[in-house]
Chain length 340, copies 2
Amino acid sequence: MTEHDKPTTPFPSFVNAQEVADRAGVSRSAVSRAFTPGASIAHETRVKVMEAAEQLGYEVNDLARGLLARRSQLVGLIVTEPEQGFRAHLVSALTRSLIQRGRLPVVLNTGRRAEEIAAAQKLLVGYRAEATIVLSGSPPSSVVELARRNGQPLILIGRSEAGADHIRSRNRDAATQAAELFHKAGFTRLGLASSTSGTPSVVEREEAFVAAALGYGITVSIARGDNTDYAGGRMAATAMLAQAAPQAVFCINDLIAFGFIDRMRECGIAVPLDISVIGFDDIPEASWAAYDLTTFRQDPEVLAAQAMALLEHRLAHPHAPPETIEITAPLVLRGSVRTA
Amino acid sequence: MTEHDKPTTPFPSFVNAQEVADRAGVSRSAVSRAFTPGASIAHETRVKVMEAAEQLGYEVNDLARGLLARRSQLVGLIVTEPEQGFRAHLVSALTRSLIQRGRLPVVLNTGRRAEEIAAAQKLLVGYRAEATIVLSGSPPSSVVELARRNGQPLILIGRSEAGADHIRSRNRDAATQAAELFHKAGFTRLGLASSTSGTPSVVEREEAFVAAALGYGITVSIARGDNTDYAGGRMAATAMLAQAAPQAVFCINDLIAFGFIDRMRECGIAVPLDISVIGFDDIPEASWAAYDLTTFRQDPEVLAAQAMALLEHRLAHPHAPPETIEITAPLVLRGSVRTA
DNA sequence: CGATGCATTGCACAGCTGTGCAAGGAGACC
DNA sequence: GGTCTCCTTGCACAGCTGTGCAATGCATCG
């Protein structure tokens, strides 16, 4: 047992306003006013306070300030697998935007199960987060009820749910466009690579692609992997090879597209010579030379900016009716689709 | 102007302990005790309180609780470009670990400039974060001073700085091993692909590789791109093609390796037939068939677990001497190095 | 010089909780 | 039945801040 083992105070040396006041020879109120822009305080008093604060290393306790003002500045992000593909970029854009607006993003990296998401949400209620943003693929519908009960603004991204604000890409438009592109290129045997763990966004893309193809008199052969990732793409490719030989395939995800392409190439099937591929998301890897993937762009910065707008609006007008913001995912033409 | 535009209370409907107490017909203390495990309270009283709390949707205000206990449970993560390669996985592992331990990870996604990092750190001091974890490539040395001044535990990852705990991979060992592997394979013309924005970890890998090669009597040709990413790898490849024709190249990063490989292939140079490549990080893309990259594994889960251990230790013993944890990055053999 | 106005300051309260302390009540034991 | 003990409960304070309100002091004007 050395001297290091003795217990110490939890906040070792955080200074409070009273100590600054004592040192500056003023009241504690004066310290508070010195740190409040526009407050009624003499210039020289403020200078005295600031000097004392500087010497002691005082920083206003935002927790206490938030408790009083009833504004914690905390915003929760509930997300599953934040390291995966597009989500990583979305989380990055959201955290950056929130910080720029003076809020603190709390990233609740949680499993996909309903109980885990509910637990994360309760945690955020306990910490009086001012809003919750849910990126998780398919949150349970109970999130809306729990948020409403606590009067906590809730923003869903990529998932609509009655009674909550949400932001979504025009998945159906993009998928329809993919089918149209394939049709115009003269392909008659189309495929769809997806996963069994379908989130609402994924389902929209699937349905719209199949419907649009049907409009051209084409029945789409569908193959699925387990997850919406690289391994899932490989599984889907294997499954599709066993059942059909499409000329062009719409992958509901860039990651799936990469796995799909790699698996095809292993079987000696060249992209785009033997098979054309379109993805979705336009994550940076899509532009890598190894894939050069034609895909639909989801711009994380745009989504984040819209989320901020929605957030500000909701905080200003808590009882305004829920809003839906739709974002167009433009086609990015690259080399994975055979032309002419 | 509709009725929605009227201003409302900032926290719309958060219930406090007093309201629960009133409803349950007990004192506010009883409510507090009902929610404190092991507190002195009659079973039936606790039941009454819990029922009232359930009906009102009460959740303990952890902010106020933290203010009193002087434990905010907030832990700050200062990170630049959290969506990039290995960092995305590290952030994911850290956030998950922190949540599992009941802490709230606040992700401060900030620029790389010293002022931005200092601002983020001050923000965390203001919110009385219990600790700060810095993943940013090369934080200014002032972070240590600022943390010390406020008695805030500081954990650096991938960057050593006197007076702070830190976790690092054995970069030198790995780089030395890379040189050894190339030497044993019989390569005599070696290259190093790096970037000009060298973080301390990167510098270690560079130096050790060059030194080890020199030990075999080999002078390494070095090429650099701007950043440690895919584009940087392409730039390095272009630069290297103009100056030398190495048989084997150590890329200080998987992302750089991918860009390097793609650029080489565009020039008709096959991997591993014409050139062998080793990367660093072993992010999932390294195992993709398109690259099949031999690389050194950094396990984000291991790093996160060590960070948690360091954190707990530091919180328990604020004045213990700074610790360094070194983690071995094992070689993962794949197909990007030519054998025999 | 007296009165009025304004800028500034300090007091006290509010925001929400955990807990030491004393008091109350009930049960047990003689 | 009386007394002692223990369990339970409420009071009050602490933790840290922002701000309305009243008071103070100074300057200005008549």
